[in-house]
Symmetry: D2
Amino acid sequence: MNNIRKIGVFTSGGDSPGMNAAIRSVVRTCAYLKVECIGIYRGYQGMIEGDFKPMGARSVNNIINKGGTILKSARCQEFRTKEGRQKAYDNLIAAGIDAFVVIGGDGSFTGAMIFNQEFDFPVIGIPGTIDNDIFGTTFTLGFDTALNTVVEAIDKIRDTASSHNRLFFVEVMGRDVGHIALNAGVGAGAEEILIPEENLGRERLLESLKRSKESGKSSSIVIVAEGDKTGKNIFELKDYVEDNFPDYDVRVSVLGHMQRGGSPSCYDRVLASRMGVKAVESLLEGKTNLMVGIQDNEIILTPINKAIKGHTKIDKELIRVSDIMSI
Amino acid sequence: MNNIRKIGVFTSGGDSPGMNAAIRSVVRTCAYLKVECIGIYRGYQGMIEGDFKPMGARSVNNIINKGGTILKSARCQEFRTKEGRQKAYDNLIAAGIDAFVVIGGDGSFTGAMIFNQEFDFPVIGIPGTIDNDIFGTTFTLGFDTALNTVVEAIDKIRDTASSHNRLFFVEVMGRDVGHIALNAGVGAGAEEILIPEENLGRERLLESLKRSKESGKSSSIVIVAEGDKTGKNIFELKDYVEDNFPDYDVRVSVLGHMQRGGSPSCYDRVLASRMGVKAVESLLEGKTNLMVGIQDNEIILTPINKAIKGHTKIDKELIRVSDIMSI
Amino acid sequence: MNNIRKIGVFTSGGDSPGMNAAIRSVVRTCAYLKVECIGIYRGYQGMIEGDFKPMGARSVNNIINKGGTILKSARCQEFRTKEGRQKAYDNLIAAGIDAFVVIGGDGSFTGAMIFNQEFDFPVIGIPGTIDNDIFGTTFTLGFDTALNTVVEAIDKIRDTASSHNRLFFVEVMGRDVGHIALNAGVGAGAEEILIPEENLGRERLLESLKRSKESGKSSSIVIVAEGDKTGKNIFELKDYVEDNFPDYDVRVSVLGHMQRGGSPSCYDRVLASRMGVKAVESLLEGKTNLMVGIQDNEIILTPINKAIKGHTKIDKELIRVSDIMSI
Amino acid sequence: MNNIRKIGVFTSGGDSPGMNAAIRSVVRTCAYLKVECIGIYRGYQGMIEGDFKPMGARSVNNIINKGGTILKSARCQEFRTKEGRQKAYDNLIAAGIDAFVVIGGDGSFTGAMIFNQEFDFPVIGIPGTIDNDIFGTTFTLGFDTALNTVVEAIDKIRDTASSHNRLFFVEVMGRDVGHIALNAGVGAGAEEILIPEENLGRERLLESLKRSKESGKSSSIVIVAEGDKTGKNIFELKDYVEDNFPDYDVRVSVLGHMQRGGSPSCYDRVLASRMGVKAVESLLEGKTNLMVGIQDNEIILTPINKAIKGHTKIDKELIRVSDIMSI
């Protein structure tokens, strides 16, 4: 047992469903293990401004099912400077905070790692992002919920896809990675899935749509990840397809930020609860500079610098499954 | 009692949630009243092609909760010609169909009215459209469901609206009318609602957003009906706001066709069931050229030409409610 | 204009979805019209205990989509005594509250009416109950949401009703009235709907189930309102049917309080918003002892004693629609 | 490569969400790999009756998002006899079916294993059950969806849990295993979770509820697995608690078969798609008597007799997480 008596917790970067469940878990595990817990508002920004609030077991009642984050989130330029981090450190020390749990993604972890190096301050990360692009965990917090949000939206679109010769293009999140597009695409039964990791060209898309039509499908759904480069953007791609396929009428949906919100799925809530327990326990065991993850349904720890450097690869097997399913 | 022995039913134009429930109701009411019922596929197109199928009570099992339409829908140019309508009429007569129930919107009713005038063929309309722009009924079939779809999407967006200085623009359906935008906007607690019926100019939008921010709101949601003319389109409007409001980050969602699909709400299912009964009974009572509607929770009939000509006005009281709510 | 400067608002009795939206509307309308608004916690109980809190426009942010009530609700025996009401009155006067808006049902309105008579204190009611059993409004706040909750549950049950010879009994709320059962029953496509207003006997249920089976249905869903007297309770009824129908396997669901919760439907949110505006405006116009309701899509006022005495009748047309649909 | 040219597929036992997605995957993988696929209706019953239907890629359009099973399911006594199985075998041979994929649980796999032993007929199983009680796979098909259904129901119940001194007992599925209760309990933030694997006695429940109240919780939710033996049943347990806790008002929900239905989650759809591909490919590679499962996010194979004999244990870590969370 080490000397940790007061743990800070905050959310940082783009929010994701399950962040509140993770906050609740950290707070309640602290209460259970009789260490104090301090909520830090708006991530590193609030750390720099000293925007802290003590949190007891009852302060996180009825949030497990809420999207967003009660601690707010923000991106913070100032924390990228040595001066900013020094202010943050001074505030933490002044408040008697001995360690923190950061819930966020890549960028948030980088900040935590640098902070740890500079001040030898114990930090543990919980991967909260819908993008599922963190190494060291099979699933990030919020990914499962985002997938359900996307397939529910596409299910509704498919209902109306009864007329002939209609194509639906649906843009989903994923600037650098196609995990949402690929998984939700398989889940929604999409005919085509366009992801940043693979750019097979616009001609191939046309061919595929042609084949799809010849195989007797009266309508098709194409999932386009935000960061896909098949077209300049989804609207330009729509124009290209309509120009080359005059009998097709292409309709576009841009799902946007609804993918980041919504009540978390049971999976994300359970994952958040498990991760929060592990994060606090690890800090109390004197561990630091680690990220909590899930692998083979076990909660594990990964050095935070590996979580940052590594990037999950797109799943080749799932691409193949998608190809087979869209026959 | 008149001589109607066989009733055709079809869906036409853009589909809407509740169309299947209406088909089911027409089919089962026919079965109950011991007249035959024939499903006509793909609207007027199927009528011209003779794409008919007898439907019994069991053929509509388990569809009340399904979005879309099992009879498919289509828009049909050929029915706008005398020749097309003659073919359709010949097919109906050949199949022994004495009357039909058309489930659709404005354009579909116009077709039915002309057909009735030319061939003295009994027709009754059921207003199936998410736009709620039909005179003679307080609610069209599908409007209630579409509103729920929109507010659920915006609820998720609002969850993530925790960071400062963020604006969300959400495009909803409504080329000519703002009923979806206004009702869903009030239901979702939108700060601004831009509809085709009112164009107060882009400057007013900026002012309102400024006021909203000054009143302590950290984020705002703006609903933009498809047909709104405040900007050229939602992306151009985004650029305008960002140009004039440099500290704002505007995110866009285009909900698109998910608004036309989805499992119908209980209200739409009950409405469809009641309308289907009334449609069949009215035909059997010798009535024709009417649209079934709901007013003051009673099922009523309106001459179909009034339903077409009239257009529901935007609700001034609701605009005022919206203004008050977004204080 | 009269002298009302400070309005209290509270929720009372069983809660219903949309109560938060109504609170928000009352609070924001007060802010808009520049009168103060005081939230009273736990209904009449909090009034007696002086559990008050000033509410400004921002204090009701992000609640329009939440089930339950942020002001809590309670049933209060003490308010039934003269002494209790005197305490409540003294607290209101001490806090400078000139009038109140009560959001609740029958019992809550009776309390308000007596209070008004005793102290000549201005009161307006908003009908918040899922039961839809208030005279003077076509729909009570929460009814629409509760119906959607029930049909969504039954839709899932129906999915699994694929094996032969299986009956599902589903108990829904409604101790004295069958509005939920009847509407959700039609919406869910139930084969039988048992309501307190009609007791046709257990034999008729057996016959109907037999007919249903003979007509080719492999499974049937029976909705049973809580207050139905066909059996002693739903489990006794299950035993009776299984005894008389040995080849049937009856499965029971008791939906319970999930019907009172959940995010309100768009309809309930809009209704709540409109009712709240009208309630505050009416008080400011010097009106009192009235209930806000909706009729023919217009917000209207009804003397509160009529709302209490009258009870909505079960809709005979809808019973007929249900009979036809379950052919 | 072996000689398999025609593969049968069926669902058996209690249905679960994702079965349709699995059927679709088997059918489309067959189409993709150019082997024939035959749908067998109503499980072993249909096999005995020869209720077969050829299935092509288009015959499984638009089912990935549907609960239930388009091939129907049944329990079949006759297949437990040698004569029944002989009939089934004769029918398969007569139809030219070389192998089958069975989607179901424990009992269905036992049938398949015996059938394989008797007739040396190639069989592969896909674990379709909401109970998650199959060895050789971290998740069974439908478990994830069932968990979401339960937590959504309890979320609604929690909304209304605003009054003091109210307890909610919610019965969930699980006759022999508590996986649904435990996971959904953690996901829903339940205060107590009663499962068949642990019977700590009724006294401990009382104590826990007392502690919960003393810790400041105004309401509590208790999840009770069907097979829990703390009380004789949930209603008897309710009476016991009310007798010993006179100031508590206990409300009961019995969720029942809604847990088996509903549109599958994205996770279950992707899992089903992956499993179906693996099942067909394994048969074509000459493998037999195996069950497809998922472990560490990889699709793996387990001897079907191990899948049957083994039973997943309740997760001690998760019980601990639950204890910590309900502080």
